[in-house]
Subunit: 145 residues, 2 copies
């Protein structure tokens, strides 16, 4: 018997929590009519104007082709603009448009509401502990690869 019951697998509980997070954030982003990955990109773009798509991908924890897909959809909706870099001709600088900033702020208010509700479920001590334990998960799992 080499197998393992689902409830014993930490991964099951991690996945379950992540799924709930995604669903909640998705609902929170709905008024702004953006997806969660789109919101994540917009949020980082507000903080780092002119960033390259590859760097943005690293910040968002996705691969460059994935970010490419997300940015394409954002550009078609006019929420971002991409202009060639003055020196490095191969690099495209990405920036929020005015509408993009408005949409980002709308989505952010929903996302922050979710995060505050989540944080409110824990004491300060529990929150720190949870973050520490999650960090250890990521560390161990990255090493596994």
């Amino acid at each position: 018997m080499t197998s393992m019951a689902p409830e014993e697998r930490i991964g099951s509980h991690l996945k379950r929590a992540e799924q709930a997070l995604l669903a909640a954030k998705n609902a929170a982003c709905k008024p702004a009519a953006v997806t969660v990955p789109q919101y994540a990109a917009l949020l980082w773009l507000a903080e780092k104007p002119g960033i390259s798509a590859a760097a943005l991908a690293r910040l968002c924890g996705v691969t460059p082709p994935t970010m490419n897909t997300v940015l394409k959809n954002l550009q078609e909706r006019g929420l971002i603009e991409r202009t060639p870099h003055e020196w490095h001709r191969n690099v495209l600088e990405t920036r929020l448009t005015d509408e993009g900033r408005t949409v980002m702020e709308l989505a952010d208010s929903g996302a922050v509401r979710v995060e505050r509700a989540l944080a409110a479920a824990f004491t300060g001590e529990e929150r720190e502990l949870l973050i520490e334990l999650l960090g250890r998960c990521a560390e161990v799992l990255d090493a596994q690869r």
Copy 2:
């Protein structure tokens, strides 16, 4: 200032850990040439032979159309077979083939290895606490919707 720093967001850490989990499980499933969702479906199918696709979807935490996609790929590879239910003609009973069972066992050994490594990063007390905290996350987030 209604926004919130990424490091303060529990969701960021949750997502980070989940991403690492997915990457590790993906690597673990690679020798069996199945994806993580495919492995999850195969694992449940081994335990509940003849289950309907909708019920399987609920167990795996995805929607029926999603499970449909996964099962279609598994069927094309000959890892499962689907036969009409004797009474409820609308229902398809899904079962592992012999090859499906072999592949599932290969993938499972890799997945269990990941889970054991993950569990080994914590004391028994920490593990229980982490699971409890993750459960509270899911609860609060589901209520948010």
